[in-house]
Symmetry: C2
Subunit: 256 residues, 2 copies
């Protein structure tokens, strides 16, 4: 029987630089907040600090846009150097808004399979006006490394979820989703279980890793410095195959 | 500065029947759990109990399918009576899966503007094999009434969020979203604020009501009886115009 869940913000993480030891930076911040990680905690980390630690930072001043990047830059009113970087992260353009180029919308499928605006390339919260961050190359692998780092340091198993903030068709406002995870099954399958009336539940598979990402997102205020949130008390299933499980098979997707 | 958030499940709510007093049913369950509602708590309620209390229940045995419902029922392999009920809740068919009728997918825009599979018509957790529930007629109004009910009874202001469980393009697994809310602004606008480096944040409007719905969804286990979750400690903005604010203007929607 599920008990209460706590969402605990971890403040005081300094700006992360390439090759910083994230486990140490998070551990230091936890100590400053008098927090101790516990077995089975879920540590939710904003993509931005992972990308910075992994040196997934590009200086637009060093980017040479291709002719196609120039063409596209006019169609969506964006800096051609930024378009060049977005294209380098893109496997497929899903949609762009040529009717309203001033909105600059370019929805693509990224190398990792996540579909998002601008391939997750982002300029906010990066030092230096022309610096942008890219998504981690393999966010599930990044999550695995972080989980292993805490295991080595503290001797406990924590689950890791790496999140990004995305828009959605049909609905206004952004939400946080899971782009990488480790130690937790991203999907929870209720099929075969019965509902409270004794009827078998059908087709109920919940994207729990996305729901956890959104829960933590409530504390990751954009103007604040809360890139890490502890989710404590949620009874999850271990194992699984990372956040890849959240990506719908294109053949089974009505919107691709 | 945001503090920790607690997600607290409310167990022991009995099966809700048409015209039941929901405020009383929830209050009784809170007492049984030794829980007391506090000023500024957010009470997240699954759509199903609202629909039942509002008698939004249809007996399929009393439904006469139209010729079009019969046509459509073959295209998506569903009971024509169920299709008839879905169509009565639908303003527009967004997508259906004629390539794979056995999957039975029919994505529509509902009267309330929410886009979801089968217009939110649902057979699980309803007594009687042929009974289905419909979404509340106006979930924002339902939320307002519930908030007023707690105000009258307890003399405190609580926010209400009514949730439904939906699928999404591109991503596997379902998540909970807000289809109605009262006393909380569904969108939180960070534009004009600066990020932690002092850069102005652009285009960052978060769908906080959806994130709260997803957070609470973690405790609304399908086979369990947790239709209500208290979210305590989240600093939200009051006011706003309900969950309608979460519905993207069709003219500004790349996917309609």
């Amino acid at each position: 029987m599920a008990q209460s869940i706590s969402l605990i913000p971890v403040r005081g993480i300094p700006e992360i630089k390439p090759n910083d030891n994230l486990v140490e930076a998070i551990q230091n911040a936890l100590s400053q907040n008098s927090l101790t990680l516990e077995e089975a905690d879920i540590l939710v980390c904003a993509q931005k600090i992972i990308s910075k630690a992994e040196n997934r930072i590009v200086d637009l001043n060093k980017v040479q846009p291709s002719p196609y990047a120039h063409t596209l830059s006019k169609e969506v009113s964006k800096d051609p150097r930024l378009i060049e970087v977005i294209l380098s992260e893109t496997t497929k353009i899903i949609k762009m808004d040529q009717r309203k180029p001033e909105k600059g919308r370019l929805i693509v499928e990224t190398r990792g399979g996540v579909i998002s605006a601008n391939a997750g390339v982002d300029a906010s919260n990066v030092s230096g006006g022309d610096m942008v961050t890219l998504l981690p190359i393999d966010s599930d692998e990044s999550a695995d490394k972080l989980a292993q780092g805490f295991k080595d340091r503290l001797g406990i198993d924590v689950a890791i979820i790496i999140t990004d903030t995305v828009g959605r068709p049909w609905r206004d406002g952004l939400v946080d989703i899971a782009i990488g995870c480790s130690g937790i099954k991203a999907l929870k399958d209720y099929r075969g279980e019965s509902d409270s009336k004794g009827f078998e539940l059908n087709a109920t598979v919940m994207a729990v890793a996305d729901e956890i990402a959104s829960a933590a997102g409530l504390l990751m205020e954009k103007a604040d410095s809360v890139p890490v949130v502890i989710v404590r008390g949620y009874e999850y299933e271990t194992g699984g195959n990372g956040a890849k499980e959240l990506i719908r098979n294109p053949e089974d997707d009505l919107f691709r």
